[in-house]
Symmetry: C2
Subunit: 238 residues, 2 copies
């Protein structure tokens, strides 16, 4: 009997309905947080992991000297935000809500029982963490090898793709409840420069952001500018 009714979403689509049911059964509670809340802090010992149900969250590496807060990952609904805390017990980064968000809480002991009972499920969850790592490699690539304009275009394409897979509408436009400062901290750019990049994308007729809505006017061109490929996201059926 599931305590919480949670629709199957995002990367969790890798799971069969039965596996999803098995997993969600172990959910201890659902927590709702407002924007910009630090849920777990670097170094803290953790006994629970979080599955993002709704909203956006990020993994942040802070520099105590400079005060800089670098985003090294952004999670969309369906992503485990700190699943790696389950085997590792403490994290090398903070976990922060980027928008209002809802997370399902899983106790590590419960997870262990679930995984012990269902080897196939644990294998699939493992695969999910490896896809996560693949996305992480791409973020490394983007930050090292791409200029500001293509980098931002690429990131927007990535968000579109991941949100689409998470079950959100994404035709010509999609909801992205994040500010330009989030794009900046994700790509290692200043907010001012991101603003200039967005102006270029706007004036080129590729893409505009108004409020929390991203409007894509020319997806093909945007993906070309961002040199976007989907392979690193391991879309189903490849």
């Amino acid at each position: 009997m599931t305590k919480y009714k949670i629709d199957q979403i995002g990367l969790s689509r890798h799971l069969s309905a039965a596996q999803w049911a098995t997993l969600i059964e172990g959910c201890e509670s659902v927590r709702t947080v407002s924007s910009n809340i630090t849920l777990t802090e670097r170094g803290t010992t953790l006994s629970k992991s979080l599955l993002l149900i709704d909203g956006f969250m990020g993994r942040v590496i802070s520099n105590d000297m400079t005060g800089r807060k670098q985003l090294v990952a952004v999670e969309v609904p369906g992503d485990f935000v700190d699943f790696h805390a389950y085997p590792l017990k403490h994290l090398d980064h903070d976990v922060v809500s980027i928008s209002e968000a809802k997370v399902a809480v899983f106790d590590h002991d419960v997870l262990q029982r679930i995984f012990d009972a269902d080897v196939e499920l644990s294998r699939k969850i493992w695969a999910m963490t490896l896809i996560d790592a693949s996305v992480q490699r791409h973020w490394t690539y983007r930050n090292a090898a791409m200029r500001a304009l293509p980098a931002v275009a690429n990131l927007l394409c990535e968000f579109r793709h991941r949100l689409q897979r998470a079950g959100f509408e994404s035709g010509a436009s999609f909801e992205l409840p994040i500010q330009q400062s989030v794009l900046a901290r994700s790509c290692g750019l200043s907010v001012e420069h991101v603003s200039r990049v967005m102006r270029d994308l706007r004036e080129g007729g590729y893409c505009t952001i108004s409020g929390t809505t991203v409007n894509i006017h020319d997806l093909e061109k945007l993906e070309e500018i961002g040199q976007f490929r989907t392979d690193y996201l391991y879309p189903p059926g490849v």
Copy 2:
């Protein structure tokens, strides 16, 4: 009966002697490659994974348009270089030898049998892949948030630390059979600029590279310049 005598090394130290023996039993063959060989190519379907025994290897994301080859990870002895091919079956990047290298080859079917038989072992290997992901996050951070001088210093400190843990001597100096172009492609810098950075490190009296040997003259200062912390490498006993 182990077909190949392989000393326990590197991240594999996370394993008990018995677990290491169980794993290495499954090694199908040991392959030696010269420098600069592409072992697996992006997209290819794989049925085997490689454990690096000796030498250096890297994960490369190539841009067909520009010809740029970005290094997104460098493996040292004891690292699984393409373990994620086991659940994912194909990779989003190439795997390339950076120096002469020796790898142990594992068939995925054999791995599956080993992991099915020893849940504890598979959990530990899983944890190893998550530490890998943590290092990957740090590479994302370094490329996004650090300037050239600290970035290179940081990378050198990381290599020193990882090699030390892999069981290689590393007091005042250590062997690093890579060129400056490898540092450049790891940090997203030009070779010329890396050369200038190395000159600054040399003239500051912090660190020199002669041939394949890195000589550290002032480790404390080097780690300060590189803002080096060890937490993301998950050193044992933390």
